[in-house]
């Protein structure tokens, strides 16, 4: 039997100066927004409606941060150019898994 231990360094009150994103919420996603670069006009509607600040217009085209995008699909639903489609995430093959 091993004794348990809690070890940490902290500032009294737990004050922090760096926002700490708690989790890479990209793992929540079942549908993946895919931007059609040809169709995207860079209007920024997707960026303004993204609830999670994970889609941004960079150099005139929408770019998704897949580490954090939860796959809600608001961007695809609101895109007036219909340049975003939601595609099923393909699970990476796991070793020995049969699912």
């Amino acid at each position: 039997m091993r004794e348990k231990e809690i070890e940490m360094e902290l500032v009294p009150g737990g004050w922090v100066s760096t926002p700490r994103a708690a989790q890479k919420t990209g793992t929540w996603r079942t549908l993946r927004p895919v931007v059609d670069v040809e169709g995207c006009i860079g209007c920024g509607i997707c960026e303004s409606f993204c609830p999670e600040a994970t889609i941004k217009v960079v150099d005139g085209k929408a770019e998704v941060d897949y580490d954090y995008c939860k796959g809600c699909g608001v961007c695809a639903n609101e895109c007036t150019s219909r340049a975003i489609t939601m595609e099923l995430e393909v699970e990476e093959e796991s070793e020995g898994g049969d699912s």
């Binding site: 004794e3 809690i6 360094e9 500032v11 004050w15 100066s17 760096t18 926002p19 708690a22 608001v74």
Partner: protein, 699 residues
């Protein structure tokens, strides 16, 4: 008798139902919320004939429970953690009012900062000293049975004290176990209707003493103390009688002893982790180690005599408290054990252990370690330390905070929140903060906006977490502090949910408005308490399904209309009030900029879609929000110095069925319901147009 699998909160709700409770006062707070949700189901389905009060906060909830109990009605209420603290003024009064017909469920959770959600006894134990009969249940069956027993004990004229039934959050509340559901007839026989002593009744006028002379008060206090001590025998008798009727008893009612005979070391526990301690005892006994266990079932009254009896044949107690007493000589459960034994001629050695607090898991191996330490101490003739924390703590404090990194300062908001897919709250919060800019301090309150991310995790400006009723007050304090320190330009922005702002926190919000405090308050209105799982709030629309306004066989959805928060805030005469929507971002940004350009108290009420609670796919969040505006169900307007102006004016309002039909929470509406809602929507919109016309000259 039916044996069914159910969660602890459901078992508790059945105990309340079987006790034929007549009035229920409820308010959501995790992890007790599903208990009152199940009761709402029973009531709306007609399975429990009770008045069900969907309260505006625990302070009111406790007062409602007290009022109901004073009429002689059998009364139930339930809370934990911050809710327990908010209701404390009422909680401490119940024993003095001798309301034995009032039972409070404490499905526990840590109390105080920083917040936590899991098992911990710190909330309920704060009510130790007032005269509550405080019983702790270890498992689902015991919770249900104790709920029924509690009224028998409390309503006994020799006691007439309220009972609190404690059960662990998560371990009990949300896990599933097999439970024997007692038959109603047997419960009715075991628990006859309450025969009150004093009641509020116009036919027979009388009043309780609510304020007394020093002697009167001390006399009443002493009678509470005596009644609590008397309750020991009643608890024991009720336990025996319960066993005769239902075939189950719990030790002698006050404590449960396990393999105590011949034990050198006795572990003392209370609550659900007793099961782990029991296994530790079994494991150690297999190895020939003389270890036993006492489970405290009744914390108040405390089983002093039982401990004195057991102490005669025991060398050491290891008392595990699921609560600490910062800076104290021991820990809460150990204080009583030590007091009980101190005047004995010979007494065992005792170690206090603070463990399992804040939801930190303590398993059977851990209890075995603690018991082994006890055995070693017996050999040595004493413990090295009277009080220890377990797990072993190695905490280093530092006092320097590095400045916010430059790359972090480039953005205001960061992804990675715990909010649901398609959440309107994060969208609103992102838009507000980006528009407000860097010279801002953000205050959140408990709820989706407080727990799922913003203030410490994902925001690039500093921010604090206000408590649920005091969000606006926290913002006021921050603003006044900054002003005094010369930082007058900083925007102090409160982002609050509709429930926390408009129900529980309304007093603080109204106070800030009345004093015209220089802050911006915005509400992300998702029209219910979404963070605790979709309970109705004042802002919930009429007829909407929520978990506390279920669509039952008898009652279908919320019966009361929406509380008109923007109009109420405008009535304070503050310089700027506006409604806005997550679907109209440029309009929202304009309103934020305008609000922040004005000195004084500003309020923006923002429609915030909630796919999880409103029941539609997440990608529809903005589409549905837009429909709310287009149908007139979410009118967009601003009130500047008393002048109303509609800011988004649809050429023609769409039928409300287009908006309502897109959401699962309105799926049950009939044609008549839709017609009624269409009518009130038009009336309210017209009312707004009239206000605009009437106040035009002010512009």
């Amino acid at each position: 008798m039916a044996r069914k699998a159910m969660t602890g909160n459901k078992a508790f709700a059945h105990g309340v139902r079987l006790s034929r409770v007549q009035v229920i006062a409820s308010y959501p707070i995790t992890p007790q919320t599903t208990l009152v949700e199940y009761l709402a189901d029973f009531v709306n389905d007609g399975d429990l004939d009770a008045e069900y009060i969907r309260s505006e906060g625990e302070h009111g909830m406790m007062a409602q429970a007290i009022g109901a109990a004073q009429t002689g009605a059998r009364t139930f209420t339930s809370t934990c953690s911050a809710g327990f603290a908010y209701g404390f003024q009422g909680i401490v009064s119940v024993p003095g009012l001798r309301l034995g017909n009032l039972m409070l469920a404490n499905i526990n959770r840590p109390l105080g900062a920083p917040g936590g959600l899991q098992a911990d006894h710190s909330d309920g134990l704060t009510a130790r000293d007032w005269g509550w009969v405080y019983l702790y249940g270890e498992h689902h069956q015991e919770i249900l049975d104790t709920a029924i027993q509690s009224y028998r004990i409390g309503e006994d004229h020799r006691v007439l004290l309220p009972t609190m039934v404690g059960g662990e959050g998560y371990y009990i509340s949300y896990t599933t176990d097999l439970v024997d559901l007692p038959e109603q007839e047997l419960v009715d026989e075991f628990l006859p209707p309450y025969e009150p002593v004093g009641v509020l009744d116009a036919d027979n006028p009388m009043s309780p003493t609510v304020f007394g002379t020093p002697e009167q008060m001390m006399g009443m206090k002493y009678s509470i103390h005596q009644a609590s001590l008397r309750a020991k025998e009643i608890i024991k008798d009720v336990n025996v009688e319960f066993g005769e009727t239902f075939g189950r008893t719990y030790g002698n009612g006050l404590i449960e002893e396990y393999r105590v005979e011949g034990a050198d070391v006795v572990l003392v526990t209370m609550g659900s982790f007793t099961g782990n301690a029991r296994k530790a005892v079994d494991d150690l006994r297999k190895d020939g180690k003389k270890v036993g266990l006492v489970k405290v079932r009744s914390f108040r009254p405390f089983p002093t005599e039982d401990f004195q009896r057991i102490a005669e044949d025991t060398s050491a107690f290891v008392v595990v408290s699921r609560h600490d007493s910062a800076g104290g000589a021991g820990a809460p459960v150990g204080y009583d054990v030590k007091s009980a034994l101190y005047n004995m001629d010979e007494r065992p050695i005792i170690q206090d252990v603070v463990s399992g607090i804040c939801g930190v898991e303590i398993g059977s191996d851990d209890f075995a370690i603690l018991a082994e330490r006890g055995l070693k101490a017996v050999e040595r003739g004493g413990f090295e330390e009277d009080l220890v924390w377990y797990p072993n703590m190695r905490i280093m404090e530092r006092f320097e905070i590095p400045p916010m990194p430059e790359e972090v300062k480039r953005s205001f908001v960061y992804p990675g929140t715990g909010a649901c897919q398609g959440c309107g709250m994060t969208l609103v919060w992102k838009t507000v903060m980006e528009t407000a800019g860097r010279d801002s301090v953000y205050v959140s309150t408990s709820g989706c906006g407080g727990w799922s991310g913003p203030h410490t995790m994902c925001i690039g400006t500093g921010g604090s977490g206000g408590n649920l009723p005091g969000g606006a007050a926290t913002a006021v304090g921050i603003k006044r502090g900054l002003v005094k320190l010369g930082k007058t330009s900083t925007n102090v922005i409160l982002g609050s949910g509709d429930g926390s702002f408009g129900d529980m926190g309304f007093m603080a919000a109204s106070g800030a408005a009345e004093r015209n405090e220089d802050i911006l308050m915005f509400v992300y209105d998702n029209q219910a308490y979404m963070n605790t799982g979709m309970q109705r709030s004042g802002a919930t629309p009429r007829l909407a399904w929520t978990t506390t306004t279920p669509v039952g066989k008898v009652v279908r959805g919320k019966q009361a209309p929406t509380k008109p928060l923007p109009l109420i805030m405008a009535a304070h005469g503050i310089p700027y009030v506006a409604t806005a929507s997550a679907a109209y971002i440029p309009d929202l940004k304009r309103k934020i900029r305008k609000a922040l350009s004005i000195k004084g108290c500003k309020y923006i009420h923002i429609y915030s879609p909630c796919p999880t609670g409103h029941r539609y796919p997440p990608e529809k969040a903005i589409e549905v929000s837009r429909l709310a505006v287009q149908t007139g169900m979410w009118p967009m307007y601003e009130v500047e110095n008393g002048a109303y102006r509609i800011t988004v004016r649809p050429k023609e309002l769409k039928p409300v069925s287009e908006y309502l039909g897109a959401q699962g929470r309105f799926r049950h509406l009939t044609e008549d319901d839709l017609e009624g809602l269409q009518e009130t929507t038009q009336e309210e919109y017209h009312h707004l147009e009239l206000l605009e016309k009437l106040t035009k000259e002010k512009l």
